[in-house]
């Protein structure tokens, strides 16, 4: 026991080391039951030696955002369009574990509190998931619909030369304004900090506001700012905080407030653009001079999945045109499937989001949301903004 304690004090422990140590103290049996099984890379086995799909246990577990198949928003349609083909092919009904944002998903996976076969993070977190050894590469030959996906976008799911993620849905982060009340002096993220609209602005409640401020202030790399740049962005946000009516956590909360004209300007995703268009509002989704921030989210497969072939069937279902048209028509998000019928959304939304424009995701019109190596430091500065 003394040896164990000495070892514990001498160095930092992994979760499993700590569990072993506490086990010596008499509670390991319980703790071990709660710990994450250490999958290790490629724990799913070699593709050639993997059991056939009929021999897999099934009961696919999907770790995803709310409304992406679990039926939170459109119960029938989500099931029919996102995994109807999967169910037809395998007879299996997937179950869903939800997360509220990318960082929370990653944290849950790292802490071992989320078991999953398929996970759906966004591009700026891909590197983290691979480094965590929580995912394994896909075999794209098992996904017939893969050939329909935009090769430029699928390339963004390649990490260390392997297709760890299958990019599916994409969209933007840009200011949305009520054109009846707001007259921007220029197309810029600066509208989120415009003194003329005190009390009519909404920001998002995440540390993303740090890189938005960085973009506006013209830092070299808003996703990897130095301490001085972060301090400048923090001070700037604190000085503008008084203009903000509220910080939104759910995009729909922002939409409700935007619709009631409680706010006229906001950090927005494409879904709000679609809602505003459907409601007949006089809106404008800006193309700021700094560039819209673009995001793309993709499916990853758990390194220790026992449902290797089921996971591929599920990804194939997600890569289909019907899944793409569902995301377009119901959530106003882009999809990497290039054969989706854009007529499922109104021409106004197609134009506002540039869905028919092949250059809409290219720099400088758009800046890909990138991996933030010092996410924790960004959060620290953002906390200071909130606490100020």
């Amino acid at each position: 026991m003394t040896d164990e304690l000495d070892r514990m004090l001498a160095r930092r422990l992994g979760r499993r080391d700590f569990l072993r140590t506490t086990g010596v103290l008499g509670t390991a049996a319980w703790l071990a039951a709660c710990s994450r099984a250490d999958p290790g890379p490629g724990a799913g086995g070699n593709p050639t030696t993997r059991p056939a799909i009929e021999e897999e246990p099934g009961g696919l577990q999907v770790f995803d955002w709310s409304g992406y198949g679990n039926g939170d928003f459109y119960p029938k349609e989500e099931r029919k369009f996102l995994w109807g083909d999967y169910k037809k092919a395998t007879g299996d009904t997937p179950s869903f574990v939800l997360f509220e944002n990318d960082d929370a998903a990653y944290t849950k996976a790292a802490a071992g509190s989320a078991e999953f076969d398929v996970v759906h993070p966004c591009g700026y977190k891909y590197r983290d998931w691979v480094d965590l050894e929580a995912v394994q590469p896909w075999d794209t030959s098992l996904i017939p619909n893969f050939s329909q996906l935009n090769p430029k976008l699928t390339q963004s799911g390649v990490v260390d030369g392997q297709q760890y993620f299958l990019p599916m849905d994409w969209g933007f982060i840009a200011p949305l304004i009520n054109a009846d009340h707001v007259e921007p002096q220029e197309e810029s993220f600066g509208i989120l900090f415009d003194d003329r609209y005190e009390g009519k602005i909404s920001w998002v409640d995440t540390s993303n506001m740090m890189y938005i401020a960085g973009l506006y202030l013209g830092v070299a790399d808003p996703f990897d700012m130095s301490d001085e740049e972060l301090a400048e962005a923090r001070d700037f946000l604190i000085s503008k905080k008084g203009l903000v009516k509220f910080l939104w956590n759910q995009s729909f909360d922002f939409w409700l407030s935007f619709k009631k004209e409680e706010v006229w300007i906001g950090y927005a995703w494409p879904d709000t653009v679609g809602y505003a268009d459907a409601a007949g509002m006089n809106y404008r989704y800006m193309e700021p001079k700094e560039g819209r921030v673009s995001w793309v989210c993709g499916l990853g497969m758990a390194a220790d999945t026992q449902n290797y072939h089921h996971a591929h069937e599920y990804a194939d279902s997600w890569a289909s045109t019907k899944a793409a048209e569902f995301l377009l028509g119901y959530y106003y998000y882009g999809h990497t499937n290039t054969e989706a019928d854009l007529s499922v959304v109104s021409p106004g939304v197609v134009e506002a989001l540039g869905l028919d424009d092949p250059t809409v995701l290219d720099p400088p019109r758009s800046i890909p949301e990138s991996y933030i190596p010092r996410r924790d430091v960004y959060q620290q500065y953002w906390s200071e903004v909130l606490a100020a």
């Binding site: 930092r12 422990l13 509670t27 960082d103 990653y106 903000v244 509220f246 620290q380």
Partner: protein, 299 residues
């Protein structure tokens, strides 16, 4: 004759001891597994003894504790902000609830428990719903502003905007949420009051006010302290209400802990904050424990 009696007494004590150990072992085991071990875990995280993320490459150190305790981070000032809000809410709620408890316990003769149930009734509905209901009431186009527009007190272009998304909103909603918790112990302590003291005071010529100050209030203080604690302790770490109605100025210590464990990817600092809060609450309990007797507030 004495020998069998002693043996029987010993046997009885042994059985009683076994029974006590048997009855206590389950809750103690529960406490060990679901409280003590997690706290040890959090303590280990707080000094960096457990590695969670691949980027967590460092050594065991007290740096995060030192930075927090010496005010090197924003979190200590956030803690004091939470204490200030929590104190304001707790004192306000106790002051509001005392007359209610007094009225129910000492003035109402019939159906006092029906009335008490009415006060507690909101507590039987969802916490989230009760908080969200305030958004409907306090919004720019909410019940209050709409009434002001209707009465021409305010123009629709000029609603009262600080009603929602402010520190005021956080305090108002917290007060509303916790009133049932406060009214109950105050009511119980006043209901248990020995009325003969009040009769004696009256017989000796004391005014009602003097009887209240000298008898009723001192005897109900354990209930008041308990009520205060029932609000003060949970609201220090509160994060849901500030998140929903706090806006940019309602961010509290509890929100910082949540963010550090989720979006912040910084479990070490989060653990420091969580453990510090636990220690503060333990200290508060220890200080107030001597004023609060469970029997006096439990009926």
């Amino acid at each position: 004759m004495a020998e069998p009696d002693v043996t029987a007494a010993r046997g009885w004590r042994r059985r009683e001891r076994r029974l006590t150990v048997g009855l206590l072992s389950a809750p103690l085991l529960w406490l060990l597994i679901f409280f003590v071990v997690p706290v040890v875990y959090v303590a280990a995280y707080s000094v960096g003894a457990i590695e969670l993320f691949p980027t967590d490459a460092g050594v065991v150190s007290l740096d995060d504790w030192r930075r927090f305790l010496t005010g090197g981070s924003v979190y200590m000032s956030l803690f004091w902000k939470s204490i200030r809000i929590s104190l304001t809410v707790s004192v306000g709620v106790v002051l509001l609830s005392y007359p209610v408890g007094y009225f129910l316990a000492l003035c109402v003769k019939k159906r006092k428990y029906v009335l008490l149930l009415l006060i507690i009734a909101p507590f039987l509905t969802s916490y989230l719903l009760r908080v969200l209901a305030w958004k409907v009431i306090l919004g720019d186009q909410g019940v209050i502003n709409s009434f002001l527009f209707w009465t021409n007190v305010r123009s629709p272009d000029d609603p009262i905007t600080w009603l929602l998304y402010s520190q005021f909103t956080v305090m108002l909603v917290l007060a509303y949420i916790w009133i049932p918790f406060v009214a109950l112990p105050i009511f119980v302590s006043l209901d248990n009051l020995d009325r003969s003291f009040l009769e004696a005071a009256s017989d000796l010529g004391a005014s009602r006010w003097r009887a209240f100050v000298r008898i009723t209030l001192p005897l109900s203080l354990p209930g008041v302290f308990a009520a205060f604690l029932f609000v003060f302790i949970p609201t220090i770490g509160e994060f849901v209400t500030p998140l929903l109605v706090g806006g940019t100025s309602g961010y509290l210590y509890g929100n910082a802990i949540t963010d550090l464990f989720t979006r912040g990817l910084d479990w070490q600092t989060g653990s420091v904050l969580a453990l510090f809060l636990l220690l503060v609450i333990a200290a508060v309990m220890a200080i107030f424990g001597r004023f609060v007797q469970v029997r006096s507030v439990a009926g």
